[in-house]
């Protein structure tokens, strides 16, 4: 079987990105998964072991002094070197901030087509096909490229895991042309948020909108999310108003989620918001405007005030679990 490369993103604090599991699972479906990483230091044993447990039989390490300071370029070099060395059938990358930039730059190097934001991939008649869910899931589109595809995969879209493997590391040093890369000066890490699940791939999401009126009031969204064990999302209006961080924006230009349960609180349900959540299995909406468009897609809607209903919900759910 041919190799399928997966770009594994490793944070500046040394954490393997959550996307690695799903990417390796998809890669395992298509061929022999190879985890490609770009780091400055040799890989720690626990990182290698973890990659193996996620299904990587091989780890291709591009070593570069610029890793951690040059923006994305070390990953591009590592990928390019791995492609040259292994002639893979496909390259899978997360459709994350770093991932898609690395994918794009690699594609120019190799002259490859990029299939973006896939939610699934499969091999069919010797071709690798990416399945995308576009415009809020209104359409499901299969696409392919004429040569080796570079595929970016929607974070959180893949549930499965690859069979465990034990990873063999190949390390190559790669050089980054400093003139062609942005420089990372420092990081501003978001404060660690409790145990709350990440929005990407969450099974339950509770989102709040402009209806909350202030950052303080938005805490109600978090309380309900915690009671349900859900991730927190937000409308763009809520993000714009500073109630919730950018990374929580659900919608057209934010994150697309497909959870089992999506609760929209004080969100009108503009077409652009719906684009990010209307493939959820069950949608619940609470809004005081009976004509709010969110009700057009809600399985269960309550016309009422979030400030009255949400605290009652939190109590009732707590009471049940107690």
């Amino acid at each position: 079987m041919s190799h399928v490369l997966v770009l594994v993103e490793i944070s500046h604090r040394g954490h393997i990105a959550d996307s690695a599991r799903g990417l390796l699972a998809l890669a395992a479906r298509l061929g022999d998964p190879v985890a490609v990483v770009a780091t400055r230091e040799p890989l720690a044993d626990d990182v290698v072991a973890k990659l193996g447990s996620l299904g990587a039989a091989q780890v291709y390490q591009g070593r570069s002094d610029a890793a951690g300071t040059a923006l994305v370029a070390p990953q591009v070099e590592a990928l390019a070197a791995a492609v040259a060395a292994l002639s893979p059938a496909a390259v899978l990358v997360s459709h994350s901030y770093d991932g898609r930039e690395a994918a794009a730059r690699l594609a120019v190097r190799t002259g490859s087509g990029v299939l973006v934001d896939a939610v699934n991939v499969r091999a069919e008649d010797g071709r690798i096909i990416a399945n995308g869910s576009i415009w809020g899931g209104n359409y499901l589109v299969d696409s392919a490229t004429t040569g080796m595809p570079v595929i970016t995969v929607r974070p959180g879209a893949v549930d499965e895991s690859a069979p465990q493997a034990s990873a063999q590391v190949t390390a190559e040093s790669v050089t980054v042309d400093a003139a062609t890369a942005g420089v990372i000066d420092s990081y501003n890490d978001a404060p660690e948020v409790s145990e709350r699940p990440s929005l990407l791939g969450a099974k339950k999401v509770v989102s709040g909108g402009r209806g909350f009126g202030s950052k303080e009031n938005f805490a109600l969204v978090e309380q309900l999310a915690d009671a349900l064990g859900a991730a927190v999302g937000a409308s763009r209006a809520a993000v714009d108003a500073g109630y919730s961080p950018q990374t929580t924006q659900v919608g057209q230009t934010g994150v697309s989620v497909s959870p089992d349960l999506y609760v929209a609180l004080g969100i009108s349900g503009a077409i652009q918001h719906r684009a990010g959540m209307q493939t959820a299995k069950t949608i619940v909406a609470i809004n005081k405007d009976a004509d709010a468009p969110i009700f057009e897609v809600a399985d269960f809607g309550i016309v009422g005030d979030v400030f009255t209903i949400v605290p009652q919900l939190v109590e009732a759910i707590k009471a049940r679990s107690a």
């Binding site: 009108s268 405007d289 004509d291 709010a292 468009p293």
Partner: protein, 591 residues
């Protein structure tokens, strides 16, 4: 969808009228308007409409709900969002478009200025009054101010950084401006000390601009009685220093603001002038002449308010009619949206066709304003000016009367919801109601039409205009069967209008009261006929475009208006020709 719908600027309809019905290309061909070709104009109107819809329209509800507020310190605060929207309006420069380039304007035709006003008035009528009154003050200065006043005031008024007001009304002087008593005493240094009380002054004080330039009518000592003794002054809220910066506060105080039926966002002020410094515009005792120049312009704008608010209300009622389900229309198998009921259709079509007629009429009037100012040939200018004189009272009255009637239909379509304030449509009914009252009540307009305009050139001016309207007959005859009913109806009704006109010519001189008695129905006959005439022209033009959808829409609107609305015209003939007998048959105690 939410009940409140957003304003959609009707730029496509407007562009069609400009190109095909009111002859805008001829205006663009006038000297000085080389930069104002149709394409450019439509591009500007699209952006301007977008601005009005996105920046101004969202302030309309808050304006109504909060209203302008008078503060104990005598200042006036406008509702939430007005200040920001006004600043953006100034930055965007929309007010400057039709003003002379010499003072920083865009040098565009009045026709384009009126369309910008229409869209702003639809977006928020109360808000739009501030720029509207500013424009009135600008025009007075432009035509009669001396160079120094012009240089000092106009550039900032043209941008909108400084606002303006118009101060005519006093407690005892409303329709009869000649009764005003505010005094202007010369100080010997060229300035005047202005003292007196003005009431109902729109945007007499506010927080939208740093400076307010009041245009004030007052009397100098020993001036003749009545309108012949009125002079016109500029009274700035803050005196202006030599370097153009703002100096001392001029003693003009806001005593209170009115609690009104509508246009809550527009502060209607009682202003007290206590020896405030004023600067004469033009000559002493020539104030009414200045007012006459501005009157045509302001009256056309106010007529357009009727159109503008009706357009907004129509859009809202159309939205509602599509969504509200109630009962079953004939043949329906499930609950029908109310738009499927014939009577609801009647209300929608009445609005749509009347709005189309009004818009054509307003734009026609505006285009004659442009011809009257810019035609190279003097005779052509004079003739255009006559037509402006004739059409202005019709635009003002018919426009605002229909404004009341059409907004009321829009409310009716909403059923009980319409009567509930939350729905928002009641606001339009309340807002537009003032337009038939201010800027010369509609009764005064009718008197102006009958008393002044019919007599121009011994009646020849009106006869020529009637003959022009008749010219469409030949084109309708050539246009085929579909235009036959419209043609026949137009002929019948123009005959009735001519008959009414003849009656007034014959009886007006000997019995003015008899002519005045029928003046309002007579004016309405004019409105109906000019509207139907313009829609017929639009239908012909629609056919000529070769675009089947445009052709159909225009044909149906014109036919509906001709067959179902225009016939009111001959029904009014008896009221026009009845004379005053029964109006005065009962004495006041019997009424």
């Amino acid at each position: 969808m939410a009940v409140m719908s957003q304003y959609q600027p009707p730029v496509k309809d407007i562009a069609f009228l400009l190109e095909h019905v009111v002859g805008y290309p001829d205006i663009a061909a006038l000297p000085g308007f080389e930069h104002a070709d149709l394409d450019t104009v439509v591009g500007i109107l699209e952006e301007c409409g977008d601005f009005m819809a996105k920046v101004v329209a969202p302030t309309n509800r808050a304006g109504d709900e909060e209203g302008a507020r008078w503060q104990p310190d005598g200042s006036v605060v406008t509702p939430t969002g007005f200040k920001e929207a006004y600043q953006q309006y100034v930055d965007a420069g929309w007010g400057s478009v039709p003003l002379p380039e010499e003072f920083g304007g865009g040098g565009f035709p009045r026709t384009i200025g009126l369309i910008i006003q229409e869209m702003m008035m639809s977006a928020n009528m109360a808000f739009s009054l501030c720029p509207l009154l500013t424009q009135g003050a600008i025009e007075a200065l432009l035509h009669y101010g001396n160079d120094e006043l012009k240089q000092r005031y106009l550039p900032k008024m043209v941008t909108g950084e400084w606002a303006g007001t118009m101060n005519l009304t006093e407690p005892q002087a409303g329709s009869d401006v000649g009764a005003l008593t505010t005094k202007a005493v010369p100080r010997g240094d060229g300035t005047y000390a202005i003292s007196g009380q003005k009431i109902y002054i729109t945007f007499g004080d506010h927080d939208l601009s740093e400076q307010i330039v009041h245009l004030v009518l007052a009397r100098t000592p020993g001036a003749p009685e009545g309108t012949r003794g009125i002079s016109c002054f500029i009274v700035p809220k803050f005196l202006v220093n030599q370097d153009g910066s703002l100096g001392d506060r001029n003693p003009v105080h806001t005593v209170s603001i009115e609690h009104k039926m509508g246009i809550h966002g527009s502060p209607t002020c009682v202003l007290s002038y206590e020896e405030a410094t004023g600067y004469l515009i033009g000559e002493e005792n020539k104030g009414m002449r200045i007012m006459f120049v501005m009157m045509n312009s302001a009256r056309l704008s106010v007529g357009t308010q009727g159109l503008a608010v009706a357009e907004l209300a129509y859009q809202q009622s159309l939205e509602y009619a599509k969504e509200r389900r109630q009962g079953r229309a004939i043949g329906a198998t499930e609950d029908s949206p109310i738009i499927d009921f014939p009577d609801v259709r009647r209300m929608l079509m009445t609005q749509k066709a009347s709005i189309a007629a009004l818009r054509a009429l307003m734009l026609l009037n505006a285009s004659y304003v442009d011809h009257s100012l810019h035609e190279p040939d003097e005779d052509a200018r004079k003739r255009a000016d006559e037509i402006v004189g004739l059409l202005t009272p019709i635009c003002k009255s018919f426009g605002t009367d229909l404004g009341n009637e059409l907004t009321s239909l829009a409310l009716q379509i909403h059923g009980g919801m319409g009567y509930i304030e939350e729905t928002g449509v009641a606001q339009h009914v309340r807002d537009v109601r003032i337009a038939a009252i201010y800027e010369g009540t509609n009764g005064i307009q009718a008197a102006d039409l009958v008393g002044r305009k019919l007599g121009v050139r011994g009646g020849a001016s009106v006869r020529e205009f009637l003959a022009t309207m008749r010219e469409v007959d030949g084109q309708l005859a050539d246009a085929g069967e579909q235009f036959a009913s419209m043609r026949a109806e137009l002929k019948t009704q123009l005959d009735a209008l001519e008959q009414a006109t003849m009656w007034i010519f014959q009886n007006g001189m000997s019995d003015p009261n008899a002519a005045l008695a029928g003046s309002s129905p007579y004016l309405r006959m004019w409105g109906l006929c000019t509207g139907a005439w313009l829609l017929a022209r639009a239908a012909l033009a629609g056919q000529a475009t070769g675009d089947p959808e445009v052709a159909e829409t225009q044909l149906v609107l014109a036919r509906f208006f001709a067959e179902q609305i225009l016939p009111q015209c001959s029904g009014l003939l008896p009221a026009v020709t009845a004379g005053a007998r029964d109006l005065f048959a009962l004495d006041a105690s019997q009424l």
